[in-house]
Symmetry: C2
Subunit: 126 residues, 2 copies
């Protein structure tokens, strides 16, 4: 189940995702807020916000867990699935708005697709 009480931690984490439009890793949030909140709390709040359809998560480089705001998802329906882009120079990660059409794979049922594109972002691309 998701968030029930509007605690300080929920408030601060939500603000973090509302002021930044990029994705944020759990690791970065702990580095940034670890003095204010215990890392267990941060992991738990992120998890609950994902349950609520407010955030979605995905794995970046080296298997690190990243979170970003959802668009039009609910606790019952997580529909906004999309590729993510990770800059190999500055580390920045963001959501891409397009979807890639996959070819039919015979006799297999596709349930999830996760696409991570790595390269140089607008800032780092000369």
């Amino acid at each position: 189940m998701g968030v029930i009480r509007k605690t300080k931690a929920v408030e601060v984490l939500l603000k973090e995702f509302n002021t930044n439009s990029v994705a944020i890793s759990a690791k970065a949030l702990i580095e940034q807020l670890g003095d204010t909140f215990n890392k267990t709390t941060i992991y738990r709040v992120l998890d609950k916000l994902e349950d609520d359809g407010i955030l979605h998560s995905f794995l970046g480089k080296e298997g690190l867990k990243w979170y970003a705001k959802c668009n039009g998802c609910t606790s019952t329906e997580h529909n906004d699935v999309h590729p993510h882009f990770q800059c190999l120079s500055c580390g920045r990660v963001d959501c891409l708005t397009f979807t890639v059409p996959l070819p039919k794979i015979p006799n297999r049922k596709i349930e999830v697709t996760q696409l991570l594109i790595q390269g140089k972002c607008e800032e780092c691309f000369v």
Copy 2:
């Protein structure tokens, strides 16, 4: 640098990938061979075989590291990059032979793309 001496561990691991056509996780190899070889050895041999262009690696569900045989790669050129499919029922992972065309992303340079498709494999798809 890659493998220089044909040791027992190299031999056994290579056979593992030659008799199975699927991908194998480092974790599974350690579970299977951990009595015969130290896990450190297994990790190191896999790493070297990848350097040699004999194996390629990628991250599966939950950030676990998987390895599979390369086709036509060398130590200097790792060209066979492709999507992977992980069955959510039986856990089996294999390489997909197609490539997905990505749209141009303005002002960004794409260097790597990793696509993991999850669902039900031929065996588990009813």
